[in-house]
């Protein structure tokens, strides 16, 4: 059963992912496709809250989008985003956060940036692109190969974001310890209480 603090963390992180969608788009390496920090928010949800809470916060964000809030990057939202060709990526979001979270919990505390980046790539790119490409193929009427090629434009940007997300997660875990279990004693997740 989720306790009140878990509920608060899930709700607030949905807000964080929404806020990261509003960070102005940057184009790393001068590529033409603008990227926003939002897909980084998905990786961060898992890398900071762990598998269960991370995936639930992404799910909550999607529910807020579905009921009509424009919380996706660029102010998109509403039901329309769930019937377009990128629906597979939205379905992949909570899965991605869950996988990143699972791997991050394996790394344990203290957080390690290099392993964190690998977790973000495995969860935030590999686990995300599988449903993403399938969705693109189904809705867009493309073969899997064409769908993969079309989606591949975003991979360089997502790789950069996976690394950046690990650096950010490292900074957050250092300033706010206790969200992921310690490496030696994985069974106990100590609760942080403010005095």
């Amino acid at each position: 059963m989720l306790k009140s603090r878990d509920l608060a963390l899930i709700a607030i992180f949905a807000g964080i992912i929404a806020a990261l969608g509003l960070v102005p788009a940057v184009s790393p390496f001068g590529i033409a496709v603008p990227i926003t920090a939002q897909s980084m928010g998905i990786m961060l949800a898992g890398a900071i809250l762990g598998a269960k809470r991370g995936a639930l916060s992404v799910l909550l964000l999607l529910a807020l989008v579905a009921v009509g809030l424009p919380l996706l990057a660029g102010g998109r939202g509403g039901l329309g985003v769930f019937v377009g060709p990128s629906v597979g990526f939205l379905i992949g979001w909570p899965i991605a956060a869950w996988v990143v979270g699972l791997l991050t919990e394996r790394i344990g505390r203290p957080y390690r940036v290099v392993q964190g980046a690998i977790a973000n790539i495995l969860g935030g790119i590999l686990a995300l692109y599988v449903p993403g490409i399938i969705g693109m193929s189904v809705v867009g009427g493309l073969g899997l190969i064409e769908a993969t090629t079309t989606s591949a434009v975003f991979i360089p940007g997502d790789l950069a974001k996976a690394v950046l997300a690990a650096v950010i997660a490292g900074g957050v875990h250092a300033a706010y310890p206790g969200l992921i279990p310690a490496r030696r004693d994985r069974s106990a997740a100590p609760d942080r209480v403010s005095a």
Partner: protein, 202 residues
């Protein structure tokens, strides 16, 4: 910045506005199934006539429709070109036309339905999942808490940005995200405590 989380709902008194949220969602579902089965060019044309008529009945400003079309262009145009190249113009119209029509219809549901009415539908659907351990009251609470939290975090994001400008820092993603997330997590601690005090865990 905080203004960006205003619901997409566009108030009105039209027939479409007055339809129940559940009815509209069900119609959308039916349309989705229909458009995966019927995709001949003339069928797509019928679909567009129906969707545009629905927008007209809802008396929504044309710019709301155009904005959605523009947003779809980045994916619709390349997909159309690929289909044209690899298959036929009929396939291009069928594939791209069906999802554009569906996205516009979904947009119509969002534009004409209050967020609270949508939340009620979600809670009702969650009630069907009770046997799988889903607590509909909690689902409703989480949605409300999520809406509230979006505004709280957007407020915190503004504070972090102001603090950076005041200290003359350039807005790098890391210098923005770390303090924003840490502040938000501390806020979540206080929020969790307030929820516990108001009996959420009882």
């Amino acid at each position: 910045m905080a203004g960006q989380a205003v619901p997409l709902f566009h108030p009105g008194t039209s027939l479409v506005h007055r339809l129940g949220a559940g009815t509209k969602l069900l119609s959308l579902l039916v349309a989705g199934v229909a458009l995966t089965v019927w995709r001949a060019p003339w069928q797509i044309a019928v679909a567009f006539v129906v969707v545009l008529a629905a927008y007209a009945v809802a008396r929504l400003p044309v710019r709301l429709l155009l904005r959605q079309v523009v947003r779809l262009a980045w994916i619709a145009v390349p997909l159309f070109a690929i289909q044209l190249l690899l298959a036929s113009w009929q396939a291009a119209v069928g594939v791209v036309g069906s999802f554009v029509a569906l996205v516009l219809l979904a947009g119509l549901v969002t534009l004409t339905t209050r967020t609270t009415a949508m939340v009620d539908v979600v809670v009702r659907v969650a009630g069907w999942l009770r046997r799988f351990g889903v607590d509909p009251e909690r689902v409703g609470l989480m949605l409300a808490l999520g809406i509230r939290s979006v505004h709280v975090v957007l407020g915190l994001a503004e504070e972090v940005r102001d603090a950076q400008y005041a200290r003359g820092l350039r807005a790098s993603p890391r210098a923005f995200a770390v303090p924003l997330i840490v502040r938000s997590l501390r806020h979540a601690d206080r929020l969790g405590e307030a929820l516990a005090a108001r009996g959420i865990d009882d």
